[in-house]
């Protein structure tokens, strides 16, 4: 896979000595949707601001399409569109004017056809002559997306695109984002919502306290999520697992009373019957069995707790 953004040892310390990013390393691949998932104050917006030149980098390197964002900012920034977390716009400007402005600000020739298509795709065409202030919140966010896409960027940053948006519009937004990906744009979105990350992203990065705690393909995470654990309660203290049970990769619980077995419920053979038979042979007496399922939410909470 081709890397489009390369972040190395990025640190950001704000003027008040607040460490917002602490040694972040991250590669973003061309054409993917990557979700930055993390609680308030995790450093998501700071990360985006550092990549886009809105906030200055304390140390480390960022390359976009191979161009350093500081030394070669012109080339790097041409590839980037950004939709900020806050709805910020010129209230009395017409939609069409502000979108045309953005395109030219990024050094592109005016292109009425492209802008028309863009606005149509975002259902903004019939609102093009309205002033932005008169639009609803969801429509305002679309205007910001149109501005960000006006110069045909390769990479789009969406900082909480669905914050404060109702269910209907959220689904709409998700569709829009998927369509953008299909048209070849690499998308980095931040979110607090796990389902959103799950639904939209190819990869998910969990970020907290300025550190990336985990980054993985969504499918791997879901695999992890769909794992179940069988907890076998016994009435004796277990110090060592019997050799005969070695192939099951069992774990002993902290109180030494339970055995834990991970399995995938989707598989035809879960191995539970054989395991229980083998346990019976070893003479261990069972009191109870119980199953436990972890989901992304739990993984997430677990990760944050351990941090």
């Amino acid at each position: 896979m081709q890397t489009i953004i390369e972040i190395k040892n990025l640190r950001k310390i704000y003027k008040d000595n607040k460490v917002a990013l602490d040694d972040v390393n991250l590669n973003i691949f061309k054409g993917e949707i990557i979700a930055l998932l993390g609680p308030n104050g995790a450093g998501k917006t700071t990360l985006i601001s550092n990549i886009c030149g809105i906030s200055s980098i304390t140390s480390g390197d960022i390359k976009v399409n191979g161009f350093d964002v500081v030394d070669n900012y012109r080339e790097a920034r041409k590839c980037i569109g950004i939709v900020p977390q806050e709805l910020s716009f010129e209230p009395f400007e017409k939609v069409i004017n502000t979108v045309n402005f953005s395109r030219q600000l990024f050094g592109k020739k005016p292109d009425e056809k492209y802008i028309e298509n863009l606005l149509k795709k975002l259902s903004l065409w019939d609102k093009k002559d309205q002033i932005i202030r008169s639009l609803s919140g969801g429509m305002k966010r679309r205007v910001l997306i149109a501005k960000a896409l006006s110069h045909e960027p390769d990479v789009l940053f969406l900082d909480e695109p669905t914050a404060g948006v109702d269910v209907e519009l959220r689904k709409d937004m998700w569709n829009t984002i998927k369509n953008l990906q299909n048209s070849g744009v690499t998308i980095i979105l931040t979110t607090h919502y796990i389902e959103e990350a799950e639904l939209m992203a190819n990869r998910i990065a969990v970020i907290n306290n300025g550190k990336i705690l985990l980054i993985d393909k969504k499918d791997n995470l879901i695999d992890r999520m769909s794992k179940k654990t069988l907890i076998i309660h016994t009435n004796s203290k277990i110090n060592k697992i019997d050799k005969a049970l070695g192939k099951f990769k069992l774990r002993i619980s902290k109180d030494k009373k339970n055995l834990e077995y991970d399995y995938s419920p989707n598989k035809k053979k879960t191995g539970i019957t054989t395991l229980l038979n083998e346990i019976k042979k070893t003479g261990i007496e069972l009191i109870d069995v119980q199953t436990k399922q972890s989901n992304l939410e739990q993984i997430f909470v677990e990760i944050l707790k351990n941090d």
Binding site: E75, N97, L105, K108, K109
Partner: protein, 254 residues
């Protein structure tokens, strides 16, 4: 390589903001000019005579122009950059592939253009009240342009440094208006006591008014070269401050 398209985008966007409020932005400065002419030029002016050749009404024209365009330039430029800061739209300017020089040219250029046009308009208005016979028209236009640029640069700095609307209004009210009034806009400094004459020599606007007046009448209180030199110095100073601001990201980048 200069990115002209981006500069043009900022410039036109700023100019179109003016056109939305064209009437307001012209009426108030022109009205106050007319008032100055009625009060100073006609009512009081007939009893004043600083220079034997020049009627007082004509004498105050350069000062009046400077008074208006200095205020307007500072206002235009400071609001031009403060508004995006206030609205949060600077994210777009900062993330665009443009250098700070281009940002400054766009904003300051638009601001200076507006006040330059206003300056010309005031000159035209004044011809209704006095006979103006401009001795060095090209020099006059150059001086006018330099003044617009220098005050716009100053306004740009004020807009960036200010955190709220009060601060934006503060500097023009507290510093520029007094400097213009005390800079010989309405009198020649030889009517002042010695002490105040010396103080006036530290007022940059004194040199500006004097140079501007020279382009009208061929006489000024200081040599025209010194005037041009001091304006250039002032512009240079503003440019250095702006360069520092962008270099350190002060008040624009977090």
């Amino acid at each position: 390589m200069i990115n002209f398209r981006s500069i043009k985008a900022i410039y036109i966007f700023e100019m179109s903001r003016t056109f939305r409020t064209l009437i307001q932005s012209l009426v108030s400065p022109i009205l106050s000019t007319v008032l100055y002419f009625i009060v100073f030029g006609t009512a009081i002016g007939n009893n004043i005579n600083f220079t034997n050749e020049i009627p007082y009404g004509a004498f105050i024209v350069p000062g009046l122009v400077i008074l208006t365009i200095s205020m307007q330039s500072v206002n235009n430029a400071s609001f031009g950059i403060f508004f995006p800061k206030f609205l949060g739209t600077t994210y777009e300017i900062l993330s665009a592939p443009i250098s700070y020089v281009e940002i400054v040219i766009g904003y300051v250029g638009a601001s200076a253009t507006k006040s330059f046009c206003l300056g010309l308009l005031i000159l035209m208005t004044s011809t209704f009240f006095v006979d103006l016979d401009i001795k060095f028209p090209i020099l006059m236009l150059c001086m006018l342009l330099l003044s617009c640029v220098s005050f716009s640069l100053l306004g740009f700095i004020i807009g960036i440094v200010s955190d709220n609307f009060e601060q934006i209004n503060f500097v023009p009210m507290i510093i520029i208006t007094p400097l213009v009034f005390l800079g010989g806009s309405f009198y020649t400094i030889d009517v002042l006591p010695d002490f105040w004459q010396t103080i006036t020599l530290f007022n940059p606007i004194f040199y500006l008014v004097s140079g501007f007046r020279y382009s009208f009448f061929g006489t000024g209180e200081v040599n025209i070269i010194i005037s041009i030199f001091s304006i250039s110095l002032f512009i240079l100073l503003c440019i250095i401050i702006i360069w520092r601001i962008f270099k350190t990201g002060y008040k624009i980048k977090t």
